[in-house]
Structures are given as C-alpha cells and as structure tokens.
C-alpha cells in the first residue's frame, strides 16, 4: 500500500509542483473575474478606514501614540492570545472524543457543542454577569454556605471566559472536520512500526491537524479582536470597545477610524502567522481512497470523557439557556406582554440564508485561486477576505453607509446591501472551509481531466466544485449561523423597519426588559439549532461540520 505521510520526502517534489496548482497555472477568467468582484467588496471597509483616518491629520498621531492606546493594544492581544490558547485546549480533546471515540451521546454532543456559535455575545455577556457576577445566581446558591461575594468577574477573567464561550466552536468545527478526514492508514503504519499511541499522536496525527488548528485559531483570534458585546458588558477595554467609545462619547468618526487601523494591522500579523504555521505541507492522499477510522474504545474512561464534554456544554449552552429561560419564566409569571412578530423570525432566516448562499458562491473562486493558482495576488485576496472578520461591525456598516448613500443610493438600505455587509463580515468562514476541503483533494484528479482535453473552466465546474461541495456547504452553514446573530450592521444597514431576532433581543435588553429579550434570544437558538442538527448529523464522512 502506498501511503502519503504528511511531508513525506519521497513525494515532496511532486508536492512542490502541485502545490502551486496545475501545470496550466494561469487562472481562467471564470475564476479571476468573480474574484475581482469579491476583492472590490472586501476593499470597501479598508478604503473607508484610510479615507477617514487620513482626514484626522496630525491628531491621528496624538491618538495612536497615547500611552492609553498601547495599553489597549496590550489588552487586546492578551485577550486574543488567551482565548485562542484556551479554545485549543478545550477543542482538541473535545473534537477527538466526539469524532474518534465510542463516547456515549457523542452525536448529541456534536450538535450541542456547536450551538454557542449562535448565541449573540452580548447575550452571553449578560448571562455571565447574571450567573457569575459578584452577586449573581451562583453566589445566591452558595449564600447558605456563607459566601457573601464571588471574586470579581469583570475585566480580563470575565471577558476571556465569555469570548471563549462563544468562539470555541469555530475551532471545534474545523478540528472535527479535519479529524474526520484523517487517514487511519498513517496511524496504523506508525503503530505497527512500534510507536506508542502518544508518540503516534504527536508525530503523525498532530502534524495533520496543524492546519485545522491554525485555521480555527485564526478565526477565534480574529473574532476576539472584533467582539463587542462581551468585552463591553464585562468591562474589558479592547480596540473594538475603544473604537465604539469614540463614536459614542465624542461622535468622532475620524478618530474612531484611526483607532480601527490598529486591529487591521494586528489581523495582518495573525494572518501571516497562520499562513506560516500551515507551512508548505501537503494534506491530500497520493493514491487510493480513505476509509473511516475505527473508533477508539474508551472503556473505563467513558464517564470521565462524557463529564468533560458535559461540562463544556453545560457552561456554554445550558447556562445561557437556563438564564434566558429563567428571565422568560419571570416575565410570564409577571404577566408581561411578550410580543414578537413572526416576521422577525422570517427576516432573520431569510437574510442569513441569502448571505450564506452569496458567501458560498463568492468563496469558490477565492479558494480555488489561492490553493490551485497560488500567486501573490491570489494569496493577498484570500488573506484580505479575513480582514472584515476582524473589524467591528459598526466600522463595516458605516463604510457601506458612506459608499452606498453617496455613490449608489439605489441600493442604500436595501436587503441586498445588508447581505453584502454580511458577506464582507463573514466571508472568511466560507473561504476557509472551502480551502480546507480543496487541500484534501489531489490536484492530479484535475490534471487528469485537463490532459483529457477539458477546458480549465469545465474542470472547475465538473471536477473541482463537486469535490468541494462538503466544504462549501459547511462554510455556508457557518455564515448562516453567524449572520443570524449579527447586530450592528443589521441595525444600521437593514431596510427600515427590518427587525430580526437579534435586533429584537438587543432592543429589549438595552431597556433592561430581560424577559422580552429572552424570547427572541431563545428563538434564535431554537431556529438555528435545527439546521445545525441537520448539518452535523446528516453529513457523510469528511463532509464539513
């Protein structure tokens, strides 16, 4: 049996050639034309930021070089680093237990553990404060034991906990997909040559997981740059909060834009690091077809494994649901009028589904160009799609307000423009997912089709895209779920009167009407969990989520 060990020397020459794509490496117009469209879209917020930041003149340097700015920088990077590390520590065992072992209830765990993705971060923040605050629910529970006050949750610990809680599924999903695609032959070969299971994991399995870990880590790190709800409620000042404060306290768009340039630069560093981590390795099989791996029998460890998964789910899903349910129940018992139009559910679903579809289509040319036609422009484009993911929603929204209201008033405040905003914000989830699928496809398949006389476009249409399907579907699902909870762009850019579950929850919560906020928040979870369950359970091997 011929086995493609990752980074195997024997095949590295082939890999070296195929990594850059096919022998006909000039991409067809069918790729670069739509890719150019995507490039224009992702450039909008950057152009806007530069326009505004330059408007600041000399003041910009005063702002950027303030000691305060450096402190914010430190805090932002500390949060991103800690959250990413924590997520890796949680999701590596979690993904392995769910995918590769005979742990009981693992299908349920698989669905539930991805759910925090749809919990808006300000809801998570409210929940953490309500449950773990100095006088929160936990303190009330412990009060009989003489606990007067819990340690301070505000600041770094609370923000880290909350952001980790809502962001870990990004890493979990990429890791699970990658683990499912692992070829058991490699592990078996390693074991048969006398390596211990532990050594096999570190020498054979872990290197193969590295790209997924890096890609998931990138999403988590960029997300923690962008998060607003959690850091503002838990009072931990990162750039997103500082930018928001500029808008809020001084109504200053110029200085806000100047501040927003820094997270863009941090994002660029993260993007370069991730690309380096992924390295030049090759992750597809050389020949043959993969078969599913045998499940590891946990034996007496089953209970411990299940407790670990339960703890994660308890904190990240059950706790928010319990607190929301409590608020809702309180509202019912006080006979509060809890009205929610069904149109909000429909609006949420409709706008998010459109965003998912457009993002999926837009991701295809970007992914194919960067994996198969790797060149400076294609890599730059692929990396640029990630910048939108690191920027606060308000910045993206105002960029689109500026360009659309002044240069394309026809589309301003239409659902179409809102969908464009969602795509700019969430495109990297679709791109990353499509790319990792594509990396597991051997380019020789496409080369064979080419050598049989198909045009490059026909190859893309009949070979590449069908093989990419699992990645595209998974990416679209991710975009759908995150668009469901999007708030700042929806408030500013949606058609007037366009209410979604997320805006309804926010509007009630901002008035302290927690019962009225709980209803749409719970519905948001419920509505999203249906497609989530369908996607995670109905997939075949190697497919997406």
């Amino acid at each position: 049996m011929e086995v493609a060990v990752a980074r195997s020397q024997a095949l590295s020459d082939v890999a070296g050639r195929t990594r850059g794509g096919s022998r006909h490496s000039r991409p067809p117009a069918s790729l670069w034309l739509p890719a150019a469209l995507v490039a224009v879209a992702v450039a909008i917020p950057l152009v806007y930021l530069l326009l505004r930041a330059f408007g600041a003149g000399g003041e910009i340097w005063d702002l950027l070089l303030r000691r305060r700015t450096l402190e914010i920088l430190g805090r932002t990077v500390a949060l991103a680093g800690t959250v990413t590390t924590l997520c890796a520590l949680i999701t590596l065992p979690l993904a392995w237990l769910i995918v590769r072992t005979d742990m009981p209830l693992r299908r349920t765990c698989r669905v539930l553990s991805a759910l925090p993705l749809v919990i808006p971060s300000y809801v998570a923040g409210l929940v953490v404060v309500a449950a773990l605050g100095p006088r929160g629910a936990l303190q009330q529970l412990l009060a009989p034991l003489g606990v007067e006050r819990l340690p301070e949750i505000y600041g770094f610990p609370g923000a880290t906990l909350t952001v980790t809680m809502v962001a870990f599924p990004y890493m979990l999903l990429t890791l699970m997909a990658s683990m499912r695609g692992l070829d058991p032959c490699l592990e078996e070969a390693s074991r048969s040559m006398g390596c211990s299971p532990w050594r096999t994991f570190w020498r054979v399995v872990f290197p193969q997981l590295r790209p997924a870990l890096a890609a998931g880590g990138l999403l988590v790190a960029l997300y923690s740059l962008r998060d607003f709800g959690a850091v503002s409620l838990l009072k931990y000042e990162t750039f997103t909060w500082a930018i928001y404060l500029q808008y809020q306290t001084s109504f200053d768009r110029v200085l806000a834009a100047a501040l927003a340039v820094i997270p863009v630069l941090i994002a660029v560093i993260f993007l370069v690091v991730e690309m380096r981590t992924r390295g030049r390795s090759r992750y597809h099989r050389a020949t043959g077809t993969a078969r599913p791996s045998a499940l590891v029998r946990l034996g007496q460890w089953k209970l411990l494994a299940l407790s670990f998964c339960s703890l994660v789910i308890l904190l990240s899903v059950a706790l928010p649901v319990a607190v929301l349910g409590y608020w809702l129940g309180k509202g019912f018992s006080n006979a509060e009028p809890l009205r929610l139009a069904w149109s909000t559910v429909a609006n949420s679903g409709y706008a998010s589904a459109l965003a998912a579809a457009v993002a999926a289509v837009a991701a295809i040319p970007v992914a194919i160009l960067s994996v198969r036609h790797s060149s400076k422009p294609s890599v730059l484009l692929e990396r640029a799609t990630y910048v939108g993911f690191a920027l606060p929603g308000i910045v993206i929204a105002l960029a689109l307000v500026f360009f659309a209201a002044n240069y394309a008033p026809v589309v301003y405040q239409t659902l179409g423009l809102l969908v464009v905003a969602y795509v700019i914000l969430f495109l990297p989830q679709a791109v990353g997912s499509a790319e990792s699928s594509l990396r597991q496809v051997n380019p020789h398949i496409e080369d064979a089709a080419r050598s049989l006389g198909s045009s490059p476009t026909k190859v893309i249409r009949t070979i590449t895209v069908p093989l990419l399907r699992p990645g595209i579907v998974a990416g679209a699902a991710l975009v759908f779920l995150t668009a469901m909870k999007e708030l700042p762009a929806t408030l500013i850019l949606g058609p007037i009167g366009f209410k979604t579950l997320a805006t309804s929850a926010w509007s009630a919560a901002s008035e302290g009407l927690f019962a009225s906020a709980a209803l749409p928040a719970l519905l948001l979870l419920l509505v999203s969990s249906a497609p989530m369950a369908f996607l995670t359970l109905s997939q075949r091997k190697g497919e997406g989520l």
Binding site: L233, F251, A362, P365, A405, L491, I496
Partner: protein
C-alpha cells in the same frame, strides 16, 4: 466557449441574488412619490416610543418608518449619509447626540418650539426637547436610606464611599451631568470631583441599566443614573426590587434635568410633515403619554407628572440650559485628562 458560461454565471448569480434580495419581503423603502411618509431615526428604544408614533400615524394618516438604533450609531450614520440621508427626523436619547448632528438640522419654526420651556431646547432652534429626565442617585434600600445619603453629589467623594458606588462615565447622560457640573462649579472643582471620585474606586458600567441592575442585586450600594430606568425594573421585578431613586436634597449638578429631543434634517424632503410630527410630540396628548407610560417629565406646561415621580417643582434642579449640554468637547477632554474615560 464553456469558460464564458461560468464567467457570466457567477456574477449573474450574485446579481440575481442581490435582485431577489432587494425585491424580497422587506418593507418598501421610502419613496418620494408619496409625500405623506416620514422617516425617523430613533435613538430611543422601540418599546418606549413606538406606541406614541403609532398614535401620530393613526391621527394623521402619515405613514411613519422608524429606524431604531443607538443614538451615537445613528448620529454617525447621518453624518456618513451626508446629502443623501433618507432621514427626516433624528430623535435622540440625549442632548449630545443632537449636538453632534446639529449642523445637519434645519432651524425649527417658533410655532413648534415656543410651548417648550426655554431651558429644554436649543437656543439656535435646531432641536427641541421632547421629554425630561432627572439625574438621580439610585440606592439599594437594604443597605441605605435617603437619610444616609448626602445632600450634594460632591459628598460622595468622602472615602467612606470607597468601592460602594457605580457610574457610567461613557454614557451620554452622565457626561451631560458633568457638563452641567462644569457650568455650575467651574472646571477646577469639577476636576477635583472627578479625581476624588476616581480615588473612591467606583465600579464602571456602560449604561444606566447596568447600574440599576447592580444596585438591585447589591453589587454596589448606589449609582448615578437617570431616574426612569428604575421603573422598568420595578415593573418587571415587582415592588420588592430593592432599589429606589433619590433626588439630591441640596440640588446642584447631581440633580440636573436632561432631555431627549429631536430635530428635522436640513436634507429632508418632508419638512412639513416632520414639523407636524414634532408639534404632535409636544402636544398635551403625547406629553401625557411620556408622563404616564415612560415615567418621564413633560417639557410643556399644563401636563402633570406621574404620581410615583417627584414633581419637577420639588426637585432642586440647577439652572443649566440644554444647549450648553449639547457640546461635550470640554467635558470629554476633562474626563480624558482625569483618566475617568479612555
């Protein structure tokens, strides 16, 4: 040949989706064809103002569309929209939000604003206050009573309050209060107050709701807020909710009265309808609504306040004009210099 089908297919699909999106079940956007529509950007929450706006629609037949959002985000949106803003009216939570876009406002006619007490509107007639709110100290009734609370906000600088207070220095209403403080006490004493308060290590919250929640659950003993937030808590949690408002006996900046307010955009194509709307909001019917339903203070004479509220006449409020509170520049500088805000 095949190549071109895909070349066209992808952008065509995107365009088609966008077209579907635009034609989707979303409510129609403003059209100039129907003059009797009004577009409002509201920084005030839907639950508070939608009922009275509906009442305006019913009474006049004018179709009103409202974009709800944060006051500051909507102000930034109006500034970015420039000449093409679809908004006719900007309805803001605080004077600073109005001040931020006042260059985009048209001057209001005297008919609209004349009924409003002069201290509750802009001197240049760019915007007018619609409802009043009092700055108060919200305190936990299990730990404090009005008798233990000082007469003046200055007295909270006493070290005995260390770690027991909450404030929201980034909140527009708090900043307006500091602006009033600067007007009444001068910059020097205001700076001293901020510095001394900071030494008392108050808990920082992002808004009034956060402070009232924290006072209610005993996280802090007292906090500086607008008066009406308490009442939605009392409504939701019942009379047992252990927090109440205290209007500072000695008056001063801590007892300032603020307003929410609105102005008409210079770029509005429906100025006449917009003016009718503002007149309605300042009519006894609407003022009665705010007094009865949102627990706010009316800005015109002849409308009574809610029975649970301390009447305006009994509050020892300082004389500071709203127009002064619309310009926060000096306040923001002071807050930044003292390290109270980032």
């Amino acid at each position: 040949m095949r190549e071109w089908t895909l070349v066209l297919a992808v952008p065509a699909l995107i365009a088609a989706l966008a077209a579907v999106a635009c034609a989707g079940p979303a409510p129609a956007t403003t059209t100039t064809a129907k003059p009797q529509t009004l577009t409002i950007y509201s920084g005030r929450a839907e639950s508070l103002v939608a009922p009275i706006i509906d009442q305006f629609s019913k009474a006049t037949g004018v179709k009103v569309q409202v974009r709800y959002g944060g006051t500051s985000e909507l102000a930034a949106t109006i500034l970015e929209e420039g000449q093409n803003s679809p908004a006719d009216i900007f309805y803001a939570q605080d004077p600073a939000g109005l001040g931020a876009v006042s260059t985009r406002f048209a001057t209001l006619s005297n008919d609209i604003v004349s009924g409003v007490k002069p201290q509750f509107r802009a001197a240049d007639g760019k915007w007018v206050g619609i409802s009043g709110r009092a700055r108060v100290v919200v305190y936990n009734t299990q730990k404090l009573s009005e008798a233990n609370l000082p007469a003046d906000i200055w007295d909270f600088t006493d070290p005995k309050w260390k770690g027991r207070l909450g404030w929201a220095p980034t909140n527009g209403s708090f900043q307006a209060m500091v602006t009033a403080m600067q007007a009444l006490w001068g910059d020097g004493k205001t700076r001293d107050w901020l510095t001394a308060m900071k030494a008392n290590n108050p808990k920082v919250y992002s808004n009034n709701t956060g402070i009232v929640t924290a006072v209610g659950n005993g996280e802090i003993d007292a906090g500086f807020v607008n008066h009406y937030y308490l009442f939605s808590f009392l409504q939701e949690k019942g009379e047992a909710f252990p927090a109440r408002n205290y209007h500072l006996r000695g008056g001063g900046p801590g007892a300032t009265i603020l307003v929410s307010g609105a102005g008409i955009l210079e770029t509005s194509k429906n100025k006449e309808v917009a003016a009718r709307f503002l007149s309605f909001m300042l009519s006894p019917v609407a003022q009665q609504y705010f007094a009865g339903k949102t627990y706010e203070y009316p800005v015109i004479d002849g409308v009574g306040t809610h029975r649970v509220l301390k009447p305006l006449a009994e509050i020892n409020a300082p004389q500071v004009s709203m127009a002064q509170m619309a310009d926060l520049k000096k306040t923001l500088d002071l807050l930044r210099v003292t390290g109270v805000t980032p």
